[in-house]
Amino acid sequence: MATLALERQQAAAAASASRSATGADQARDVFVTLTVGGQLCGIPVLVVRDVLGPQMITRIPLAPREVAGSLNLRGRIVTAIDLRTRLGLERADPRRAMSVVVEHQGELYSLLVDQVGEVLHLEPATREDNPPTLDATWRVLSKGVFRLSGQLVVELDVAAVLAI
């Protein structure tokens, strides 16, 4: 179900993107938004492969704290990363968290988050560098922030998130 919703949203975003000048440029500015620890974040849609509801996660002994375990996604083994732990927050309950599945260097990773939001097109003009007051852990994992009416959207650096 969540997959269909994403696809519809992606289609919608792509459709609206194609209405503007260059489709390829626009896709770069489209983000899947998610909430973790009360903060709204965005991941480029180009690296997102799936959005999942709560999953059966097998824990991996001796793995780093941030690794919640592994799960079976249509026959592929996906490593689940607890984004809350990664950001220095308290652990989520892996069985209830939503996840955003990203692909990085040929491997699939499932990022456990509190909530998954909409797919949004964020204007590059509204992008700013990390504010100096940003928490150290966040700063490492954030590429910048977008100003969205009344909210800040943190753009997550997927490569940095996965550099555990």
Partner: protein, 875 residues
Amino acid sequence: MDDLLAEFLTETAESLAELDTALIRLERQPEDGSTLSQIFRLVHTIKGTCGFLGLTRLEQVAHAAENVLGRFRDRSLAPTPAAITAVLAAIDRIKLILAGLEATESEPAGDDTALIADLAAVMEGRCPAATESPEVAAAVGPVGEAPPAPAEPVLAAAAERAEQGEPVVAEGPQPSEAAASAEIAPVAESSVAAQTIRVSVEVLEHLMTLVSELVLARNQLLQLVRTQENSPFAVPLQRLSHITSDLQEGVMKTRMQPIGNAWNKLPRLVRDLARETGKKIELVMLGADTELDRQVLEFIKDPLTHMVRNSADHGLEKPEERRASGKPETGRITLNAYHEGGHIIIEVSDDGRGLNTRRIAEKAVALGLASEAEIAQASEQAIQQFVFRPGFSTAAQVTAVSGRGVGMDVVKTNIEKIGGTIDLRSRQGQGTTITIKIPLTLAIVSALIVEAAGERFAIPQISVVELVRAGGGSETRIERIDRTPVLRLRDRLLPLVRLSTLLHLDSGRENLDSEAFVVVARVGARSFGLIVDRVFDTEEIVVKPVAPILREITLFSGNTILGDGSVIMILDPNGIARAVGVAASTGGESAAVAEVSADGGDGSGKTTLLLFRAGGTEPKAVPLGLVARLEEIERGRIERAGDRALVQYRGQLMPLVPLSGSLDGDGGARCPVLVFSDRGRSVGLAVDEILDVVEDRLDVQLVSDRPGVIGSAVIAGRATEVIDTAYWLRRAFDDWFRYAVATEADRRARLLVVDDSAFFRQMLAPVLAAAGYEVSTVETAEAALRLRDQGRMFDAVISDIEMPGLDGFAFARAVRSDPAWADLPLIALTGRVSEADIARGRDAGFTDYIVKFDRDALVAGIAQALAARRVVEAH
């Protein structure tokens, strides 16, 4: 590259490989008509195609070779070794030219006139001038490597290009060949060859992956259907399941190749080696059509070549030597391959001189891999295992062929990497056999599913030796030695590790008496047991590599999806062995104690031991030689003074130390006591029950760090704690100190203990040995000096002061006056520690002065002295 050219390169490379083997076969059986025809046909085809493609250099060389072969065929020329060598040289030249052709797409410039002249000479029955042209050596590097090397890049690169270009090429009769075949009598093999299709490796890999996924999905469906009764899906699913299995088998077969493919270069290699070394070698290959996965084949090609080289170079003797030992002049190297339960077994054996165990032992000691004492205790088989260590080569010279000392450990690592095992057996004078066992395929592995702490894991079946049920109602029990679980399996102590503990999944509740399963695993020559909660069955699983983030966890070798869809980790037995500390050790036996008596020579190695019980039901042991008397003392006679127990014994007050902690024992009226006496003093150790006196080897296998216990050994078939008498005796007189352990650097340091008291020698020696030192003892200072004069060397000397004959001070002065031992740390052990005594000791030459029975101070003192000496030596 031109498709035609790529095609030509691939095909010609295959033909050349065939030619190598065929020519050597011909040399051995000159009358073999079919081989001759095959060879002629191959060369003729090459010549024809070269001409067709305008490759003049190749054409000329091939033509020259073909002339010689034509004479063979007409029987106007005999295939002598010299003639065969010349033809082989031509083949090599062709390979060289092909390599250049493949790199630059045109024939490299070069001069073949010498070679062609040789071939012409051979054809006319004359002797060839030179058999190897400098061009070959210069172009390709070390002489021994030249022949096989050019063919490889051609084959590999051509295959690559074939993949990128046209993946599937049908092979039909060639125009040039059609003309040629009219001349030659048809050979039986050609009809078989025409039924093949060349397919790119990538396509097959992809097929394999798809089939694996299909197998997993099929497993999941089967699982679901099993839970439902009378499901309409059951029957069609059954059919689907059968078809999937067949499909899996079929696809796996496409990747299967006969092992002969890895062997095809070996006859040529052996022939060249034989000529180089001047030996007569026969290579026998059995089971060449045994099939295995292509990936695995690639892995073992190099190791096999290496082992054959070793046999030819080091294993087999020269003909004269063989004749002298009554062996046939021709040495034989045998390769034998066969299937056994999901694996392929490959044996490489030779009937040569076998491994020189003594040389290996010497080298091991020289490299610091084992102490002399350990070597003395180790079996021949165990010593032979040293050849698998890095940097190990006992070859007196490093030849171009082998002996660089980088071989067998790399072979072992490579084979273990793919989940295989390697084993070595050798008899001096008779030969060596190396046995390799590898899984038939890497993609799908047979694994045992186990459970620990509620999670399931897979263990590759190849490492599992047996399953043992322990605890609960079964006879086998997990015995505890000092909180370390240990299993006694047919008279060997098997170190155990709990899987849940290893993975930090422990809940802390360890109930040893409840039922547990022990998976006995074997890694190389080491065995260990893995305690798990449950054992499920064996399943065929598809191995998937772990994500890069998890690569560092050495306990896992991959993960997989089970039939029910759950993801489980696959354990790596090598990683577990390392974590348990099993893999690192050499022979498993600890340092022995060498007792050097005045007559020299040690006994049979067996000690008389007294077995008793003291607290609990496990037996404990102490060398009987230390015990003066066994007494039974009425509990009523035991008196107390402060918090000490005493008893009046033979006119003296003897302190009584309860070994079990309390003097109540079993509650009987009489208390068994082990009495230790030394120079007028007696101490009694009270125990619960005296069990037995046995004679057995005192082989402390698991060293304890608990005070009062040296370690555990298998005595009279049971895991038994060996008591540290020094500790208990001190309790009668002193307070308890912490036990200082010698540092790594001091291990295997040789100590000499000089003391006239047999009791003291017997007590101190095992304590120091368990600390990792190599201990020798003598009774008198004179005996010690005699050792020095014989040239014996030690790292430190520990001496008593009060001895008959030469006392400690005189001994120290004697030691310091002679250069041999002048710099050694000399430690005095004595009951007298007044300031004056210490000063006197220092004057005499002692480095340190330690009170007797202060074992911890002694061990620390030794460590300090040795460390100080190393610092001095470093400058």
